[in-house]
């Protein structure tokens, strides 16, 4: 990953960490689902691709994704200059970093509890 990509990922992570709550559900399987669902939708929105939001669960991911994508576009105008492939690559790196911070590298001992 180039330094510029790393820097951009950190900017995007910082926004999620300071403004969002969805990445901190209480169990690791939940966090995997949330990160994947919302960042997947956000990527599609940033790439102007259609999203399927018939299912209420998907629709719930979508509302968080709409607000996130809008914030990214206004706060980090450089994102509007990227090609779709570049956005996908950036969002994949963001997803990996978020999973690391909230799941695989997390020090939260409760994440592996079987029950809620």
């Amino acid at each position: 990953m180039t330094d510029m990509t790393k820097d951009r990922v950190e900017q995007l992570i910082d926004y999620i960490m300071k403004k969002c709550l969805w990445q901190f559900h209480s169990r690791n399987w939940d966090r995997e689902r949330q990160n994947k669902g919302i960042l997947g939708m956000t990527t599609a929105l940033l790439c102007d691709e259609p999203v399927d939001i018939e299912d209420p669960k998907e629709r719930c991911y979508w509302v968080d994704a709409v607000v996130l994508a809008d914030a990214y576009r206004t706060r980090y105008p450089w994102i509007n200059t990227l090609s779709k492939d570049e956005i996908r690559e950036l969002m994949a790196a963001l997803h990996a970093r978020l999973d690391h911070l909230t799941i695989t590298g997390s020090l939260n001992a409760e994440l592996t509890d079987k029950n809620y």
């Binding site: 669960k57 709409v66 590298g105």
Partner: protein
């Protein structure tokens, strides 16, 4: 790991892993204290017990219910008129508190008969109230009283009443949080799905983890009504017992305090497929994003946007008046659980203060993850602090104000640090746009109160100035302000009434939105 060891706790070495400093370059994979563990012996915790968490926090805000503690009178003492979860039915849940008054003889001979007498007596004393919750306490759990059986007997004898039993004695978890968990699960297991509600809107939510502190819920309810959303139930502030039995029919669970109520949202998602949307009702930007998300979910974003525009236009000048005067003030954000993350970032951004420390009495590591993620570098994060650690932190950080509960708050006052009540508020509500300005006003008043000029003097030795008066808050706060800010005709301080909730209760002019044909039929 950037642990912080308090000098006063070197004799309790395990405490070291409960405090960290968010140093530059640290992230959540290297900077997180332990949490939600049994308090270490020798550390005088500020926590409550699991009974307290179940009853005082979650059960009792339900408004049309007799809430009985089955145990010694002492357990229930703290419930009576010490909380500020108000309701629109004359505060029945605050005016009356009930306990079975278990004594030594009942410990020896059993207290089930006593419980039954109490239940019947309470229902007879309040013939209009047909719902009851009963809470287990340590003593009655240890003697093995079968509360469920007694409640069942009464419900057979009095078919018009319904009783919920909460088995969460004080020892059922490391802190009050154990009780939050237990009552969430007990409610979804025993009561959800037992009433079918009348659906009056195409957009139906449960508003979860909201306790109507000084009217917070009623402020948010006003927004939801203006959007044409039916709030099927509120878990639990100003909430009705039977509405909460019908939670399974909502389209969306809107969750505020995830610490105390995420369990029921998670279960409703798994069992009934109702999605969980976490929101922030505090702060202009987070609240606006939250209303927008709810609007988007139902395809009525324009209704949310209209509220956001109107409220922001109305209240932003007042918020900014305070922001100009609070810039750079150091804050210790020391609440019980969820407010450390609800407030950590937004008070810095919207009020200009700097959070130098966050702590949680009963939060889990998940709350600390959110809090540490949201606060700025250099902040000291403490899990389950004791009083001496709190004092040492105040000495080291020298905050201008702390937000905490009334017990640690009074301690802070003694060392000359103003405090605001983070649990019950000073002059709330604090939710909503106007509420957020009221919070800013309370912070301003706490920091700049003229009382500090007097309180910091030691009358046994300091000379008492008698030749001049005290400086007013504005004389102090405006001393270093730019003339342009001071003389601004846009910015203005808050001038709202003390009671902003009664007018909301009287409000009737909500818009009528036609329902979709297929849904209404």
């Amino acid at each position: 790991m950037p642990y912080h060891e308090f000098e006063c706790s070197t004799c309790i070495p395990e405490r070291k892993q409960h405090a960290v400093v968010k140093a530059p370059g640290e992230d959540l994979t290297s900077c997180l204290p332990l949490g939600y563990l049994n308090t270490i012996p020798g550390s005088i915790s500020e926590r409550g017990c699991a009974y307290c968490g179940a009853k005082h926090v979650i059960g009792t805000p339900m408004k049309d219910v007799i809430h009985i503690s089955h145990g010694p009178i002492g357990c229930t003492y703290d419930t009576w008129q010490t909380k500020r979860y108000i309701s629109d039915n004359g505060n029945f849940q605050l005016r009356y508190t009930f306990a079975t008054d278990v004594r030594e003889k009942h410990i020896v001979f059993g207290a089930e008969k006593l419980l039954k007498q109490n239940i019947i007596e309470a229902f007879k004393a309040h013939p209009d109230i047909k719902r009851m919750t009963i809470y287990q306490t340590c003593a009655t759990a240890l003697i093995g009283d079968d509360i469920d059986a007694i409640a069942g007997e009464v419900m057979e004898e009095m078919p018009d009443v319904d009783i919920f039993v909460c088995n969460s004695p004080g020892f059922a978890g490391p802190s009050q949080s154990g009780g939050h968990h237990k009552i969430n699960i007990a409610w979804v297991n025993n009561k959800v799905g037992t009433v079918e509600p009348e659906i009056t809107s195409d957009y139906v939510i449960n508003y979860v983890g909201e306790y109507n502190i000084q009217g917070d819920q009623e402020v948010m309810l006003d927004f939801f009504k203006r959007m044409g959303i039916q709030v099927l139930s509120t878990f639990t502030g100003n909430g009705k017992y039977d509405d909460l039995r019908a939670m399974h029919r909502a389209h969306l669970n809107v969750l505020e305090c995830a610490r105390s109520a995420e369990y029921i949202c998670n279960e409703l998602r798994v069992r009934y497929g109702i999605p969980r949307l976490d929101i922030d009702g505090f702060g202009f930007e987070p609240l606006s994003a939250s209303l927008r998300k709810i609007g988007l979910f139902f395809g009525i974003e324009d209704r949310a946007q209209a509220i956001i525009d109107e409220e922001t236009r109305k209240w932003k000048p007042a918020l900014d008046w305070y922001k100009e005067r609070l810039k750079g003030k150091k804050v210790c954000l020391w609440p019980g659980g969820s407010k450390l993350w609800h407030w950590a970032n937004v008070i810095e951004e919207e009020m200009g203060v700097r959070v130098v420390s966050v702590y949680t009495k009963f939060g889990h590591q998940g709350d600390m993850e959110k809090g540490i993620a949201r606060c700025s570098e250099g902040a000291l994060a403490i899990d389950d602090p004791n009083e001496l650690e709190g004092l040492e932190a105040l000495e080291r950080l020298k905050p201008d104000v702390i937000f905490t509960g009334k017990r640690p708050g009074e301690v802070a006052k003694k060392v000359g640090v103003p405090y605001l009540n983070a649990h019950a508020y000073h002059n709330g509500p604090y939710k909503g746009y106007e509420g957020w300005v009221r919070f800013a006003r309370d912070i301003y008043n706490a920091i700049y109160s003229p009382i500090h000029q007097l309180a910091s003097l030691d009358i046994s030795k300091d000379p008492i100035p008698t030749s001049h008066g005290f400086m007013t808050p504005e004389m102090i706060s405006d001393a270093g302000l730019d003339e342009a800010v001071r003389a601004s005709d846009v910015l203005r301080p808050y001038t709202g009434k003390a009671d902003i909730i009664t007018p909301l209760r009287e409000k009737t002019d909500y818009p009528e939105f036609p329902r979709r044909q297929s849904a209404a039929e």
